[in-house]
């Protein structure tokens, strides 16, 4: 499956892109994360949540959409 992965906040700095195409053959968000960590090892050090179909999902959710958003918490005010 070809996924579009969007990176919000400082995740875009870690991966050096705000959006990319990513080929993936697994089924769960957790498997996707393992795969994306191989491409961007520094992502593993960051806290973030994953969303698909405009819904924040847990790691054991099945991937059903071609677009995944990764969003970190923001500190600033």
């Amino acid at each position: 499956m070809k996924l579009t992965v969007k990176y919000f906040g400082l995740l875009a700095e870690v991966t050096q892109c705000s959006e990319e195409q990513f080929k993936f053959s697994g089924t769960l968000i957790s498997e996707f994360l393992e795969a994306i960590y191989l491409k961007h090892p520094k992502l593993k050090e960051k806290d973030f949540q994953a969303a698909q179909s405009n819904e924040i999902v847990s790691k054991n959710t099945k991937i059903t959409q071609a677009e995944i958003v990764l969003l970190p918490p923001f500190a600033g005010g």
Partner: protein, 366 residues
């Protein structure tokens, strides 16, 4: 009342809606980038009682975005100044200024006096404190947070909706997410996000439209994209907070929650040039680490010994395990002494490291 005429002539608001606003009590935590626009619009809108809690003082670098303040504000407390400015804007409302830190001890008592809480803080320790106190006192929390050119907005804990912990259950690892003072922020961004927060407050009070609860709005100022994500409520996370209810006020504050403490490893420290090592343990604590040629200033004497600190050098502060050194860095930060790092290792580990290095370079000693 002529002041609110443009509200009152809106059929969706009318005098009835305006009366609701004048009866409402809203507490804004943090009068910074987000707090300033929120406060300005809520005061102008005629929110009957506004509370402002902020311990911090205005710095020149705040003026780029914290629009309630001016050059004459520098060095003065933000909560008090905000009250002065807002009283001029609208002297028909009640404004309470609390020039102090929000703590576990004072949060519940304070929140109980208000209907809606607004998060305008710049650090995670306070953000989680506000979230938890809102859950315990059952108050809606209008959340906003920013990073460089991006912002997040949501309404938590509103009519049984999700909380911040349902989105991010635990605070991020210390030092992994920088705030505005470390990474910079586009000045207008908190204006946009803060205005969105003020809008949610008015909608809650007036019962208008769809409140942004159970959803997180993500805004990107560079490409004008907004993404709204559904946040599912986690009863488990909320129950964990409710279980802490009785002991909440006794929770010890995390140190230095207003600023992220730069840490450095001994290995990284040695790569730097022109550094001053500072040992902040008491004079009788062992082992001494003479090889670093440190200056000795016990933590208890630090504030009175600032003259011993070399402003031209980078400071690397250590102690027995790496906790007091963090406090020391935050004390120096408070006195505007920057370029200070807390050493991750304690005295024993430093000695171990030095010994290992020595063996590496002088094999005959091994």
């Amino acid at each position: 009342m002529n002041r609110y005429n443009r509200h009152i002539i809106l059929s969706e608001i009318g005098q009835k809606g305006q009366d609701k606003l004048s009866k409402a009590k809203v507490l804004v935590v943090g009068a910074g980038g987000l707090g300033c626009p929120v406060l300005q619009y809520l005061a102008a809108a005629g929110i009957g009682t506004l509370g402002i809690i902020d311990f911090d003082i205005v710095e020149e670098s705040n003026l780029q975005r914290q629009i309630l303040f001016g050059s004459s504000s520098i060095g003065k407390n933000k909560a008090i100044l905000a009250k002065q400015r807002l009283t001029d804007l609208n002297n028909t409302i009640t404004i309470n200024a609390y020039p102090k830190k929000l703590t576990h001890k004072n949060a519940l008592g304070l929140f109980k006096n208000y209907d809606i809480i607004i998060d305008g803080t710049d650090n995670f320790a306070t953000r989680y404190l506000i979230n938890d106190a809102s859950i315990i006192t059952n108050k809606p929390l209008v959340y906003g947070a920013i990073y460089k050119f991006e912002g997040q907005v949501s309404v938590f804990n509103y009519q049984n909706s999700a909380s911040y912990r349902c989105l991010f259950p635990t605070p991020p690892k210390e030092g992994t997410i920088p705030n505005c003072s470390e990474t910079g922020v586009l000045g207008v961004l908190p204006g946009i996000i803060g205005s969105m927060q003020a809008n949610e407050v008015l909608k809650i009070i007036l019962g208008l439209g769809n409140v942004l609860s159970g959803k997180l709005l993500c805004y990107n100022a560079l490409n004008n994209q907004t993404t709204t994500l559904i946040i599912n409520k986690s009863e488990a996370e909320i129950n964990k907070v409710l279980l802490k209810k009785e002991s909440f006020y006794k929770t010890i504050e995390e140190l230095n929650c207003d600023f992220y403490i730069p840490e450095i490893s001994i290995e990284e420290a040695f790569k730097k040039k022109n550094i001053q090592f500072i040992d902040v343990r008491e004079h009788d604590e062992l082992p001494k680490v003479e090889a670093l040629n440190p200056i000795y200033i016990p933590l208890s004497e630090l504030e009175n010994s600032l003259d011993k600190i070399d402003s031209k050098k980078e400071k690397v502060i250590f102690c027995q395990v790496g906790i007091r050194s963090k406090t020391a860095v935050s004390i120096l930060h408070k006195h505007n002494i920057n370029k200070s790092y807390s050493l991750k290792e304690g005295a024993f580990e430093i000695l171990e490291y030095l010994l290992k290095q020595e063996k590496l370079y002088n094999p005959e000693n091994a």
